[in-house]
């Protein structure tokens, strides 16, 4: 399969959207485009599994390489392993759901969908690139659409939130840039190629400087404590699809970068800094969970709980065991689907009640059974009910963490486990107040979900349940790739 299709298809969709005349055409173009992306992601999955089943043991499949800027040894190098495929699938799920729930956007529809598709282009490109330069290129492509999405279609303190997000993310990518240049000039040869860099050995003194730069730089994207402050503001001000993309895809760019770039090519210092990563991510997990308890606004609840859940991703990476790393990637996929669904439901509720304050709602189960059922499912997934994806992912991280017998890792694991209890408290309380109890004045005539909202929810729920019921599919995909990274870390 030709991987450039994953980049060309969104590009083509974006261009066609620009040529459309009215909002109706734009919406259908975006939907057709994202459906094709969805199909393409599954084609990639099956092609990948076929190759692997056929005994192709190459680390990266479907590799492509064009010389791009030969003077700087930059090549347009694409390729996927299991982790990339999982992330591409996640992106496809979130994009189609995001397009569907935005069906009612009336303000500047064309621009809205153009930016959404552009964002997905950046994400696909990021996940399949094997050259650090183009990886960085796609990482930055995704920043400005977020800024505009929040600033134009957002609500509340949108300008402030958009600025904060753009500047913090650009700050993160500035650190990434310096780290990449350090690797480029300090490494064994002048190259941005990920595979070449991973085969050679980067001197330890270079790693000492570049690893923290890259890890923190990518960490900003995935809400590494204490650089998580853009998350609550950004998510709560963004339009529904914007929040879904931010939390579902964009935060995963950081986790993927921490794993694939920082940890993989600089394993020595990854071991050195592991303690700090574990401490910071445990703080993020607990702090996020406790901060969520205090929130009254549904979007803030999900935003802070995202900080907590993304902490598991970094915890899994910091633990440096194969199981924990697999768990980290699973958590990225699971959280991506779950949080996208959560934001979608919040958007649907807000569109009808015009409030996101938990205490102003009540008894919504009676008027919108479908939406509240989805809210229950996503809430249960978030608190880790077995049978849904959240349980599988977090459990894998915990098992991986427990493989370290020393007290430090044990304590970190136990502390992270505590957050699950806290999660149960805030999720159940929020859902209970929203859906149960007597119905509030004026909410009697609200309508239930429309076809587009139902479809979006069903697609995401299908993903969540599939992972929850049959986690071995995802596990088989991810763990060989995680094993390669672990091999490198173990120095074999």
């Amino acid at each position: 399969m030709n991987l450039t299709l994953l980049i060309l298809l969104p590009l083509l969709t974006a261009v066609v959207i620009l040529l459309m005349r009215n909002a109706e055409q734009v919406k259908w173009t975006a939907l057709i485009g994202s459906t094709l992306q969805f199909v393409l992601a599954f084609v990639l999955l099956f092609a990948f599994r076929n190759e692997r089943a056929g005994g192709n043991e190459a680390q990266m499949l479907f590799e492509l390489q064009y010389n791009w800027f030969p003077a700087w040894h930059i090549s347009f190098h694409l390729g996927v392993d299991g982790i990339s495929v999982a992330m591409v699938l996640l992106t496809a799920f979130v994009v189609i759901a995001g397009v569907l729930v935005s069906w009612n956007v009336t303000k500047m529809t064309k621009e809205f969908y153009f930016l959404l598709i552009l964002l997905s282009l950046g994400a696909y490109g990021f996940f399949i690139s094997l050259d650090l330069f183009i990886l960085f290129f796609f990482l930055e492509i995704a920043v400005i659409p977020k800024y505009l999405l929040i600033g134009i279609w957002g609500s509340g303190k949108k300008e402030y939130a958009a600025n904060k997000l753009a500047l913090m993310l650009m700050g993160g990518s500035a650190l990434v840039l310096v780290g990449l240049l350090g690797v480029y000039f300090g490494g064994p040869e002048k190259t941005f190629d990920l595979l070449t860099l991973s085969r050679g050995h980067i001197p330890v003194q270079v790693q000492k400087i570049c690893f923290p730069l890259l890890f923190v730089g990518f960490g900003v994207f995935t809400a590494l404590f204490p650089f998580h402050t853009w998350v609550p503001d950004g998510h709560s001000s963004a339009p529904t699809a914007g929040s879904m993309f931010l939390a579902g895809i964009s935060m995963k760019l950081g986790g993927y970068g921490c794993l694939r770039v920082a940890t993989y090519i600089m394993p020595d210092e990854a071991k050195e800094y592991a303690t700090i990563i574990i401490v910071l991510s445990t703080i993020a997990i607990l702090y996020g969970a406790f901060a969520t308890m205090m929130q009254k606004d549904l979007k803030y609840i999900n935003a802070y709980s995202s900080v907590s859940h993304c902490g598991f991703v970094l915890l899994g990476i910091g633990m440096l065991t194969k199981t924990a790393m697999t768990g980290a990637v699973m958590q990225m996929v699971s959280h991506g689907l779950m949080t996208a669904l959560f934001f979608a439901v919040i958007g649907m509720i807000y569109e009808r009640t015009h409030t996101r304050q938990v205490n102003e709602m009540g008894g919504l189960m009676k008027v919108m059974p479908f939406i509240t059922t989805v809210l229950f499912i996503v809430g249960l997934c978030s608190l880790g009910l077995p049978g849904l994806s959240g349980f599988v992912a977090e459990m894998t991280v915990f098992i991986g963490s427990w493989q370290h017998p020393d007290p430090f890792h044990r304590i970190a694991t136990i502390a992270a486990c505590i957050s699950i209890v806290v999660t149960a408290v805030y999720i159940l309380r929020a859902i209970g107040q929203t859906a149960m109890g007597p119905i509030k004045e004026g909410y009697n005539n609200l309508s239930d979900a429309k076809w587009n909202e139902k479809l979006a929810a069903v697609i995401l729920i299908a993903g969540i349940i599939a992972i929850g019921v049959a986690p071995f599919w995802l596990n088989d995909l991810i763990s060989p790739a995680a094993e390669i990274i672990m091999h490198k870390v173990a120095g074999k």
């Binding site: 800027f69 030969p70 930059i74 290129f137 505009l148 134009i152 300008e159 753009a166 650009m170 500035a174």
Partner: protein, 467 residues
């Protein structure tokens, strides 16, 4: 001999020919501005295209004038800039009573820059620098009825005279210290004696004045604000570009033996220029002053590239200037179109611009994203290669400062984006009627901003010329 003369000096001869043509037209019956403008646009386009043919390496007049493929390409970039200016500001130009004079002045300045890039000795350099500066001072005062323009022109001429004085002083000291003014012979004579260092510092100061490197930047914002926008854009793009080109020759070729000395100077000045330019740009309300400080910050980035080694530095700076021509001219073009029709020049006036003028809003957004270095615009590649060139010395503190400055600059570029796309305004700027050639200019700029980066052969071509 005559053939050499014709071929090696072809760009200069073409420009001279156009200047004389304009003189005849002015003295003779005269033409309507509209048709004269079309003729000039055609001639400038022809000049730009002709710049790609018959480029040979050679020197004339005993080494006073040198040229090669890279220099020819640099001249083409400048020609392209002038062509774009003639397109973008068509409305303003054709309303001016003295349009032929404006072009005579602008082309004389361009001629000066061509000679400057090609100069092979300090004397030639000084002469051509003067030729490229004095007409610009007259252009600055082109809106005769505006007081602020006269003030700007006065500031410009005074600061140029001052820097010329310093330059001449440096040249005479350098002659005294090395016994030569020829660029070819000078490197062998440089041994780093205190007198030579002093002379070099004076020479560099003159460059710093023209490039508005901090702390010699104080004239920039006032002049840009007072001058007609077409002239501000010429100053910020064409003048800066030409000085950056000759600075490359001076530092990498002539003063190569003093690398240690100028490397530290360039690093310090670059940090100061980026920081000061960025911090001052944060608070500007007038779009011209805003672009003035942003262009100061851009010069800081050019210095980052110059601090690198010769090949990477040269190619990344030339590449960046090419991109800068498209991006900055697009931004100035939009500001000019709005100012021409409504007289509004404040960023706050731009609020809600997107509702009434989507096309120029997108052009402005592309230009500003390119200036900020956001992919997929060409500015991303330009900035990144400058920084990569600068990083080749392993000075990571410097690179980190440069990277952090990218964030600061993003903040103020986003301010304009926010005004245009997000802020609400009861009375947004009305629909701007663009002159067809202005529209063409904007489309060319937009295409350049998008394509120059993604098509990597542009950079390969420049690198091949550098080798």
């Amino acid at each position: 001999m005559l053939n050499d003369f014709l071929i090696l000096m072809k760009s200069e001869l073409v420009i001279t020919f156009i200047i004389f043509l304009l003189l005849f037209i002015k003295v003779g019956k005269g033409m309507k501005n509209e048709s004269l403008l079309s003729l000039l646009q055609f001639l400038l386009l022809a000049n730009f295209i002709a710049g790609f043919f018959f480029n040979e390496t050679g020197s004339l007049f005993g080494g006073l004038f040198t040229t090669n493929a890279l220099i020819a390409f640099q001249k083409s970039i400048l020609s392209l800039g002038v062509y774009l200016i003639s397109l973008l500001f068509a409305d303003w130009l054709k309303k001016s009573e003295h349009m032929p004079e404006f072009f005579i002045l602008m082309l004389s300045a361009l001629l000066g820059m061509f000679f400057m890039i090609s100069s092979g000795s300090l004397l030639m350099f000084f002469l051509s620098l003067e030729l490229s500066t004095i007409p610009v001072a007259a252009m600055t005062n082109f809106d005769l009825e505006k007081k602020i323009s006269s003030e700007a022109s006065m500031k410009m001429i005074l600061s140029s005279a001052f820097s010329s004085g310093i330059l001449l002083f440096g040249i005479s000291l350098m002659y005294g210290a090395t016994g030569t003014i020829s660029f070819a012979e000078m490197p062998a004579m440089l041994d780093g004696s205190p007198l030579q260092i002093l002379a070099f510092i004076f020479l560099f100061t003159a460059f710093a004045f023209k490039l508005s490197i901090v702390p010699f930047h104080l004239w920039t914002a006032d002049v840009y604000e007072g001058a007609p926008i077409a002239v501000s854009s010429f100053l910020s793009v064409i003048s800066k570009g030409s000085i950056a080109f000759i600075l490359l020759t001076a530092l990498y070729k002539v003063f190569a033996p003093m690398h240690e000395l100028w490397y530290n100077m360039v690093v310090l000045l670059s940090i100061a220029t980026m920081i000061i330019g960025n911090l001052f740009a944060l608070r500007q309300q007038n779009i011209k002053r805003f672009l003035a400080y942003s262009s100061i910050a851009q010069v800081g980035f050019i210095l980052v590239g110059i601090s690198g080694n010769s090949i990477a530095g040269t190619s990344s700076v030339v590449y960046f200037v090419l991109i800068y021509v498209f991006s900055n001219l697009a931004a100035f073009g939009v500001a000019g179109a709005i100012s021409q029709q409504t007289g509004k020049e404040r960023i706050n006036d731009y609020k809600g611009l997107y509702q009434t003028n989507p096309f120029i809003s997108w052009v402005l957004a592309l230009a500003l994203f390119s200036l900020a270095g956001i992919p997929p615009t060409a500015g991303f590649f330009g900035k990144l290669f400058l920084i990569t060139a600068g990083a080749s010395n392993g000075n990571y503190f410097f690179i980190t400062v440069a990277a952090l400055n990218l964030i600061v600059s993003l903040y103020y570029y986003l301010r304009v984006i926010r005004a245009v796309f997000m802020d609400k305004n009861e009375q947004p700027i009305e629909k701007i009627n663009l002159h067809p050639s202005t529209k063409l200019g904007m489309i060319i700029c937009g295409a350049g901003i998008v394509l120059v980066g993604l098509l990597s052969w542009v950079y390969d071509y420049i690198t091949a010329l550098t080798m």
